[in-house]
Structures are given as structure tokens and as C-alpha cells.
Symmetry: C2
Subunit: 349 residues, 2 copies
DNA sequence: GTGAAAGCGCTAACAC
DNA sequence: GTGTTAGCGCTTTCAC
């Protein structure tokens, strides 16, 4: 006689249900999956017993048996970043609507972690992996990482929000060029010519693309490009926005508008601007990217770029499902939208 | 002859490894788990083959076999809230260090979802569930939910950050009273007597506790309690902070300091204060809770309460492991710390 | 429509 | 030390 030391009350199984319903486990399984017709009488009896015990079929046994875990792994750089959090929740909802579960991992932007987590997800036998942020954002893909992903892709498809040169990853990408175009057209239409671009890092694909479009739009309006208005040698957080904006002022530059690389960086940029005695938007207009809740917390509220996160998440999950089934197109594009708020205004004469 | 329609390159199994190494699967399993000694020669041979194929043992098969998924489910209200995001990442790291994986779900604070997700986690056979936010935060526990949790607890232990009257959930709770005491002592020492409390909802346990301590501290310093300085009939976001602070001004009240229920609400409170023509902290001091990155993005930076998230996460995971093993204490308390920044200053005379 | 039985990939006695 | 073998809990042919 031994006391139960834990609360492991014997999990009830399909056998228990079958026995009590006086049917075979196969029949119970059938009503569980709904794949095959079962006599109405038996079905209802089984259903009743299942409900009575609140029986939930063991997902591991199920997955083992049909070799389908019904799980999609999601590898992000850091959910504490609101952009990733928004996107993750969107994916979670989209996955739910197609009967999938989502398994989140944070790499904290450390490549070694990314590789490790790829393995962990593989071990969990997730059916597909969606990677958002980290190595898949690099302008020039890291060869070692590409190799790792290719090895994983041998058995599990991976979908990325950036690109991974040398792999067959499906991509769901924001049209960064378009996003910058929207912002620039907006600012230029307000009369701005001295426009700074601050935050992030040029080694990141989307940032590189933004810079390209920045130059392109300037050119379109015959506005001279001034390299000293560009400050992209940092990161994507508030501190970096602050430091990089300070650098611009330190060079003696006085832009009338600033494009921050994202909402978080924008808060740092704002701090720098205010510390230098300027007002937003009266003296300097400020705009950002991502339309996270941060942009609504700022005072004044930030003009920014929105992506329709639910749709973005839907695309990602669809791409994953397509990849699992070995079909669908290689790349899908998310269209950015301009959200005008109070942080941007007419340029001072 | 059939073309492989997906990239399901046959997953390699322990059998393949065993065969190539000319040993039994048991021996391969032994080197995998490390539970039993294996001859050096064979072990190295096996290891080499495992590495060669980048073999990862199927977690589902493993879990099925030893009935241990090595997964802890984490049910939060919404990871897009930085408090939950911080805590989740802390849990993820803590879990990793003890060999567990973490499975995140968002209930979006909808009870029906919470119940559903509890079932989903049960189905996944997670070994324990940690619930942060949602029904476990209620001042008076919802009976239906308590019943659901008790049903789940029949097989899976659940740990909560709040309380669930009528269940045996282990608890890891912030000392909310202490947190409010720190804030009040801080403000009173700066000469504030007219202190408002804004945001959140009194139906939430921690908020209720904060109010208790608020009154208590006032009493201690013989400062009269003015009900009109309290505005707790809302939510925990920026908009709510804004609305509720407006309400206070609308009543003709002019506090010299405001305690916002959390950092997010504080941003809304700040907006209201500024719109009413006051400065922070010169005219009105503002403090919050949670020390999320939002508090550092605010201008001026927010004086707030920190919890040492890594430790908080560690407690949570420890409690979960203890619960799995049927040991450990029922409740653990997280000690809050005051973080003074520029949003709080001396009261105007 | 329904049952018997063979796995799915691994772990853990139990022998030797 | 190492192999044999019996499951873990489900799904899915394959017969009937």
C-alpha cells in the first residue's frame, strides 16, 4: 500500500471509454477523429462517457500514431518586442482557426540559440516552423545558419518573414519599400526636405530596403541626399533611437522630420529631440513603423505604418500549411498602410 | 512508384541508429537518456551516428513511453501586455535551465477561452500549468472557473499568480500591499498629500489590495482619505488611464501626485495630465507599477515598481516543478522594489 | 458500421 | 554492460 505522492490520478484512456461503452477502441477513435461513420446509438453513448470523464485524447499518442503533431513552431527574436508579440498573437489565432497549435520560442537574437531552438522544435516534431526576426532578417544571410536551416528543412519546412539566401524557405514579407514610400510621400507633402532616418541597423534587410526607398523618393522629388541625416548603426530599441538621434544633432544637423526605424526607436528619438529643445510636431515631425500600442502611448501619438497583423498572421500560417502540404507560392507580400497621427505636421517655413 | 509530394524525408528513428551501430535500440536509448552506463566504445559509435544524421528523438514517442511530456503550459491573458511578456520570457528561461519546455497560450482574458485552453493544455499532457492573469486575478473567484480548474487539477497541477478560492493551486504572488507602501512612502516623503489612484479595476485582487494599503498608509500619516481621488472602474491600458484620470479632473480634483495602476495606464494618465495643462513632475508627480520597458520610454521616465522578473519566473517554474512532484510550499511571495525615475518629484507648496 | 490487430518511436523493466 | 520485450495511448488498415 503506497500513498499517491503526486496528483497523478490515472489518466483515463481510450480503453476505459471503450470498455465502458462496450465497443472497441477503434470505434471510440472514430468518433474522436470523426473520420468514419459510427452508428448513432454507439456514438452518442461514447460521447456521453467521454463527456462524463472529461476525456481528452493524449496528443502525444495521437501524434505518434499518425505522425502529425498539429503543432507549428514559431521562433521569434523576442516577444517582449511588441511587434513580435502582435504577430505571434495573430499567428496563434490564425492557427487555431485551422486546427493547429502554436509553440513559441524566443531566440533573444542569439544565433546559437536560434540553431538550438530549431533543433528543439524538430525534436517536438512540429510540422512547420515560422521564423520571425533573427538570422532571417539579415541583409546577407549567414552561411552557417543557412546550412542549419537546410538541414532542418530536410524534414520540416520553415517559413520566414525575411529571406535566407540558399534555402527554399517560403517567405511572407512586408513591402518595406512601399512602407518607406508612404512615409516619405507623407512628409514631403507636408513640406519636409530635411528628413533624417534613425535607428536600426543597415545590416538588416528591411532597413536596407528602407534606405534604398528613402534615397529613391528623395531623388524623385529632386531633394538632395545628405548622408549625415542617416543614422543606422544601432539597434531597434528606445536607447538606440536616443543615441543615434543625438549623433545627428551632434553633427550639427537639424532635420525638420525624422523617420524612426520603428515605434520603440521613435520614443528614444523623441527624447533626444525634446532634450535638444525642439517640439514635436511644431519643430520636428516624427514618424515610425509598426503601429504597435507604443505608438498610441506616445505624446503626441505617433504617425506610423500598420500591417494589418491579423492578415499578416494569416499569411504566415497559410504559408506554413502550404509548406507542409508541399504546395503554394514561395512568397507573399504584406501591404503596409499609413496611419497619420499627431506627431507629423507641416514643415516650418 | 510515387513522387514524394512533401518534404517528409523519412524521419530517422532509434531503430535506424541501432541497426547502423549494430546494437539494440535499448542501448541507443540509454545513451540518449544517459540513465544507464553504456560501454565507451558502443557509446561513441552511437553518438557518432546520431550526430551524422542529426538525429533528434521524437518527443512524442518519448512522452508517450515515459508519460512525461517535459512541458509546462503557460496561460496568460495577453502577451502583448509587456508585463506578461516579461514574465513569460522569464519563465521560458527558468524552465530551460531545468530541462523543461514551455507552451504559451493567450486567453485574451475571456473566461471561455481560459477554460478551453486549460483543456488544450491537458490534451497536450503538459505536466503543469501556470496561469498568469485572467480569472486567477479576480478578487472573488468565479465558481464555474474554480470548478473547471479543480477538474483539471485532478490530473495536472496548476500554479497561479493570483488566487483561486476553493482550489489547491500553488500561488506565487507579488506583495501588492508592500508595493503600494513603497510608492506611498515615496510620494509622502516628497510632501504629497493629495494622491490619486487611477486605472485598473477594483474587482481585481491586486488592485483591491493596493487600495487597502493606500488607505492604510494615508491613515498612518494622518492624511484624510478622499474617495474622489480614487478612479478604479476601468481597465489596465492606456486608454483607461486616460479616461479615468479625466474623470478625476472632471470632479474638480487636483491631486499633486497620481499612482497609476501600471505602466501602460500611466501613459494614459500622463496624457490627461498634460492636456489639462499640468507638467510632470513639476505640478503633478506620476508613478506606476511593473517597470516594463514602457516606463523607460516615457518622457519623463516613470518612477515605478520592479519585481525582478527572472526571479519571479524562477519561482513560478519552481512552484510548477514542486507541484508536479507533489511537494513544496503552497505560496511564495515576490518582493517588489521601488525604482525612482524622473516622473516623481517634490510636491508644490 | 465495427472489431481485431498492427504499428507509431521510444523507455524501462527484466534477463543474462 | 547489453539485448529482449512489453508497453505508453492512439489511429488505421483489413476483414467481416
Amino acid at each position: 500500500m503506497q500513498m499517491p505522492k503526486t496528483n497523478e490520478n490515472k489518466m483515463i484512456t481510450i480503453y476505459d471509454i471503450a470498455k465502458e461503452a462496450q465497443v472497441s477502441t477503434a470505434t471510440v477513435s472514430r468518433v474522436l477523429t470523426g473520420n468514419t461513420k459510427v452508428g448513432k446509438e454507439k456514438r452518442e453513448k461514447i460521447l456521453a462517457i467521454i463527456k462524463k470523464y472529461n476525456f481528452k485524447p493524449n496528443a502525444m499518442a495521437r501524434g505518434l500514431s499518425d505522425t502529425k503533431s498539429k503543432i507549428i513552431g514559431i521562433l521569434v527574436a523576442d516577444v517582449r518586442n511588441p511587434f513580435y508579440a502582435d504577430l505571434f498573437v495573430a499567428c496563434e489565432q490564425a492557427a487555431k482557426s485551422v486546427g493547429y497549435t502554436v509553440l513559441l520560442c524566443n531566440s533573444l537574437d542569439v544565433m546559437q540559440q536560434e540553431e538550438h531552438l530549431l533543433d528543439r522544435l524538430a525534436q517536438q516534431r512540429v510540422e512547420a516552423i515560422i521564423q520571425i526576426g533573427g538570422r532571417v532578417d539579415d541583409l546577407v544571410s549567414n552561411m552557417e545558419y543557412v546550412e542549419k536551416v537546410n538541414q532542418i528543412m530536410n524534414t520540416i519546412p520553415v517559413v520566414v518573414t525575411g529571406k535566407l539566401e540558399g534555402t527554399k524557405c517560403k517567405m511572407v514579407r512586408i513591402d518595406s519599400m512601399k512602407a518607406m514610400e508612404l512615409l516619405m510621400e507623407h512628409l514631403i507633402s507636408l513640406g519636409h526636405h530635411q528628413i533624417a532616418m534613425v535607428g536600426g541597423n543597415i545590416k538588416v534587410l528591411s532597413t536596407y530596403e528602407k534606405l534604398l526607398q528613402y534615397k529613391h523618393t528623395l531623388n524623385k522629388y529632386h531633394i538632395p541626399y545628405d548622408e549625415e541625416l542617416i543614422s543606422l548603426e544601432g539597434s531597434y530599441n528606445s536607447e538606440s533611437g536616443y543615441t543615434l538621434m543625438n549623433d545627428i544633432f551632434a553633427k550639427g544637423k537639424h532635420p525638420t522630420a525624422v523617420v524612426a526605424i520603428n515605434d520603440c526607436a521613435a520614443t528614444g528619438v523623441q527624447r533626444s529631440i525634446l532634450e535638444h529643445g525642439y517640439r514635436i510636431p511644431e519643430d520636428i515631425s516624427l514618424v515610425g513603423y509598426d503601429n504597435t500600442y507604443v505608438s498610441q502611448m506616445m505624446i503626441p501619438r505617433l504617425t506610423t505604418i500598420d500591417y494589418d497583423y491579423p492578415l499578416f498572421g494569416k499569411y504566415l500560417i497559410e504559408a506554413a500549411i502550404d509548406a507542409i502540404e508541399g504546395k503554394g507560392e514561395m512568397m507573399k507580400t504584406v501591404t503596409p498602410h499609413l496611419v497619420v497621427r499627431e506627431s507629423s505636421g507641416k514643415a516650418k517655413q
